[in-house]
Symmetry: C2
Subunit: 349 residues, 2 copies
């Protein structure tokens, strides 16, 4: 199971939590008001398949009827995809979010890795990836874009060889775009009509609603249909179903969020350059992977914890090891607390 | 997929919905206040495995550490059990909630039925059931107690032959006690230490929180451990995790609810006796299965719908057919609207 998704200790309110990639601006006001207004009426079952929310989502995305599926967070859909498609062979672009491997193995898939290395700044060579797919027998290729925890983003146009390669084998591209809102890049959503593509989206990171559990998938109708057969009923709670259309319509919140990240990510990067033991990897997401000099991620983490600063160590990500940490871009005071504690650590060593 | 869990039409606010078995008193006040107070802070991930809520639950139930597991509604745990245990052969006491069959078949189990018949008022003969288990090779027996949709309750002491029979084959008893709070009967929870028993509980029916999604399982530690291996992360939302201990502690709400049902169920039964086309089955739950004269459930349902009254027809329950409806005990005005519309229907015929 994934290591954590936020800090839960006794000092949780006073801690500077840079471990979870949640928008620190907090949830959209409209959603908070909605939840309060719905609280007294929570007696009713949520709509069994969330059809009203899906219809509204399909309109907002401009995709056709039956092109979406909702999840109790994006994670439900990773597991649902794995058990509905049940591919014999899966290729996962690594290092990445470790629920993919667990999900596919849980349902009997043979999981191979396409490893992006430190030497190439964790950037996937899309031609090599396409070649591997063409010569293999992978029914599914998983890529997270931007990737977690590396922050690497691959442009939509660069997916062409991979899509062509997959088409030859009738394979499916599973693209996790949970962090795409931050990337300012183009989505692969334009490919769902003509290719076997499934795109995963999370509403809870960008909209700061991780406790609520809401994500969605959008894909080729044949994939969505297969997933529907295995979908469990009532998985998305009533608050999440009602909140989804509100979020899709809230352009102001999106703008405010992107403005915030623009400045605070720059600030974090500048501050990181003042820490002699840390080396940031270029990121198109709302978090930054940092190489820790001398593989001292564990020591740094312990030092930070004592000062109430929580980060994500990366030893459980396939192909990273203990030389890296991931820090989420948060409000300036958290960044400052992290930076000064990190400087302190490397000064001591 | 289950037919429905509440009515979702355009006139949902003015409709008399007797289709879903939800406590009409509405959610406990403390939980509503909790949700409102948490709404602004929903940014954080729920605890990945809900360990704080589980610990509190285990204390309240008086069961040992590691004896419980939480679900995004009770339904999550039906599917989780099926994929974690993956029994070759399952015996389901029917007619009952139809997610069991779907869940086990989804994961490749061979599902057999132990059918309780109309002739025996849908009451299971526990000796015959034990005999069937002893002579068969069922790794799991599923029984819902009180049963949905029949309302039949089997006393804890009457499970002894079945438990003995299962023990011989090292089989597991899966007892769905989602409606046991209404029955005033003894739970099978006392058996989890010494038998392979898994008990399912729903918090959302009795506590009127179906939109929130919270249920739990309690069972022999070896079963819970197996389920943990297949548990998906963050399935239970943050509101549900915080609400659970509040509900367990709210004795006042429980008393108020049981008082309400005592009188309103009696009222409904008396009123039903005035409808010449309906014949209620004795129920130990908060709903009543009624035989409809001349198998006219569908006609009655259509008549009621036109008058804004929604009930549960039962044609999709295995072994019932179209001769029955299920009505939930609700507030008096709903009961009265149902009864007078039903009288009208049978007068017309």
């Amino acid at each position: 199971m994934n290591k954590h998704g936020g800090y839960f200790g006794k000092d949780r309110d006073s801690a500077a939590d840079l471990s979870a990639n949640i928008n620190p601006l907090g949830p959209p006001k409209g959603v908070v008001e909605l939840i309060k207004s719905m609280a007294g009426g929570i007696s009713m079952y949520p709509e069994i398949d969330g059809i009203s929310a899906r219809t509204s989502l399909e309109k907002a995305l401009g995709t056709g009827d039956g092109s979406t599926i909702l999840g109790n967070g994006a994670v439900e859909l990773i597991y649902l995809f794995a058990r509905a498609i049940r591919p014999k062979n899966v290729l996962i672009v690594q290092p990445t979010f470790n629920e993919y491997k667990r999900a596919f193995e849980m349902y009997g898939s043979n999981v191979e890795s396409f490893l992006c290395t430190e030497e190439n700044c964790f950037r996937p060579n899309m031609y090599a990836l396409a070649k591997r797919v063409e010569s293999g027998s992978h029914e599914v290729v998983v890529i997270c874009n931007p990737n977690n925890p590396t922050g690497v983003f691959t442009e939509a146009k660069d997916f062409k060889p991979l899509l062509d390669g997959l088409a030859k084998n009738r394979g499916i591209l599973f693209a996790d775009e949970s962090f795409i809102d931050y990337s300012l890049g183009e989505s692969l959503i334009g490919n769902i009509e003509n290719h076997d593509v499934f795109i995963l989206r999370s509403m809870t990171k960008f909209y700061s609603l991780a406790g609520l559990r809401i994500g969605y998938g959008v894909g080729h109708r044949s994939i969505i249909e297969k997933m529907e057969k295995f979908k469990e009923p009532w998985t998305v709670n009533a608050f999440a179903l009602e909140a989804l259309p509100l979020m899709m319509a809230d352009g102001e919140y999106r703008k405010k969020t992107l403005d915030f990240y623009k400045y605070e990510k720059e600030y974090m990067l500048e501050s990181l350059s003042g820490v002699k033991g840390l080396d940031p990897v270029e990121s198109r997401s709302n978090f930054i992977l940092c190489r820790v000099e001398g593989n001292r991620a564990k020591g740094l983490d312990e030092h930070l914890k004592k000062r109430g600063v929580y980060i994500r160590t990366c030893e459980d990500f396939y192909g990273i090891g203990d030389g890296y940490i991931r820090v989420a871009v948060k409000k300036r005071d958290y960044t400052d607390r992290f930076i000064s504690a990190a400087i302190e650590y490397f000064d001591q060593c």
